[in-house]
Symmetry: C2
Amino acid sequence: MASPKTIAIDAMGGDFGPEVVIPGAALSLERQPALSFIFFGQQERIDDALGKHPKLLARSRIVHTDHVIGMDEKPSQALRRGKGSSMWLCLEAVKSLDADAAVSAGNTGALMAIAKLVLRPMPGIERPAIAALWPTVKSESIVLDVGANIGATSTQLTDYALMGAAMARAVFHIERPSVGLMNVGTEEMKGNEDVKAAHALLKSAENLPLDYKGFVEGDQIGQGAVDVVVVEGFAGNIALKTAEGTARQIGTYLRAAMGSSLMSRLGALFAQGGFRVLREKMDPRRVNGGTFLGLNGIAVKSHGGTDAFGFASAVDLAYEMADSGLIARLTADIGGFHHRLSEAGSGGVPPERSAGGALGKV
Amino acid sequence: MASPKTIAIDAMGGDFGPEVVIPGAALSLERQPALSFIFFGQQERIDDALGKHPKLLARSRIVHTDHVIGMDEKPSQALRRGKGSSMWLCLEAVKSLDADAAVSAGNTGALMAIAKLVLRPMPGIERPAIAALWPTVKSESIVLDVGANIGATSTQLTDYALMGAAMARAVFHIERPSVGLMNVGTEEMKGNEDVKAAHALLKSAENLPLDYKGFVEGDQIGQGAVDVVVVEGFAGNIALKTAEGTARQIGTYLRAAMGSSLMSRLGALFAQGGFRVLREKMDPRRVNGGTFLGLNGIAVKSHGGTDAFGFASAVDLAYEMADSGLIARLTADIGGFHHRLSEAGSGGVPPERSAGGALGKV
């Protein structure tokens, strides 16, 4: 399976820079021996870290820059003064086709802003989205948008469905991924106007390369009800963070409960193999990496505070996306959908609606 | 502490009707012996259930009706044909001051619609909200709105803050509850226009009976970062359901992990006391009950599928809300806030903005 792909890596991104990024890339190379890398950042620090990984060193190239974008810089600042930085150069390598995908653990907002400028949105896409891999009781699902944009029109939600389906094909290897539209279930309202309109679009659209399953609610994500969950970015970001918080909260409960008596402590000792299984299942590093979808190139954001194991997951994800030919396929899907939309509509312009309109029918 | 309060109960609501509702009320009476009850519904079934609870029987009155609102009726249907039903009568008892609070495990949408019609929103309130008790690692927080409305203007979000603070005073006995505004944290956007405007209002408003702490993110709810979390209903409902789903998902992982080897099964046996502590901590019945806030009367919604223990939690909540004099205090708070708002503004009308506007600044 392994095809030779080159990954451009922002070696200075994240809380630790090369000291996490390089061992992470080395781990990923063990799994995909045909990978090669371009590292962008401070030559000396990268050299030091690469020195401990001779196999990786043999498949790496370094592009030196002293310019680094800070974790707390605003996107607008990063756009103004980010040119020539490790992050910017790393994205330019994808643009120039020197690399097949970019990975950075740097500042999310800056990465999104620079990626949009350098790689440009696909034809027809107004708003690229950030997709997250979400662990489920079955395996994993893709949830998008988890925070690139606030609000989404019905057309944008449908674009998200196509983007998510393309990613599901790439990473889950499912030809017609199932897609659900996140909604609220209480009888009195059932969704805002944009969600309702997107539902109608997805239900009536023909030849979409996905299997639209209708509405899903928040509690169905973790059940793995669908391969792809579509939601606008404000609610999606809140859902993602709430799930992370709940997992952490239950971990706290569990530790307290297992320490609550001598018998429990003894039991926990016996059951440590089981707890290890649980920890692995709940390990956020396994699904580390938010993917920017809807750009003319692949950019993956690793969590800034992750370790080498987590960074390797992000590199794996970038590789799988690059290997699948996702961009060409998605560009065609989006083009086809917008074409049919404009044919069906009053001509030319896809219908726009105000995002997140006030409804409250009761 | 126990003051004599009367709770109006929709005996027919929920998946089980009197067979759960009556034992639930009996449990609550054990904790608050000065309570009395009016049960609305089919006399015969209520009589049967009450027969097993002589103490409760002695403090109960039954109002017979054969008319019951179905769990799947739409709010509009319920409004048209719900008059005289157990749900409607139960809310009318609060309106007529025969009861201090109403509890129903029936259809949420119908209950909200009828409650709005019968009890009427407080002066100045356009949109009553549904508040949920949310278990945290510290104790509990209040989250609203979890699904009464989609979208919320800045004034409405500020109203929610006042409503939530009033509820926190009633159930947590904190005079100046801390309040956070739910937002997304990624640098590139930081909230929509309504959330930003509400933030400005809450920061600048003087004499609000709450301690405004600024923005919180989804993962901070479970940490108990604030007593009250304010969010518009679409994202709030998704957050609540996502947290429930994640808890269930981790329960599934945990059971699988503890069955994964003989040693783990043995350990789980030893640790069963600890697991009991965990189960109690995670028991959704402990915090059963969504409260309708912003009406001229107290109405609590119990989960339709709960058992007597869960229904009793909803009755306890209704009692605490009634006992605290919440309605009078909240009416004054809301009146004061809107008065200052209109003085500060161009005069008279609170500023309205489109809810959930599209932003996406990058």
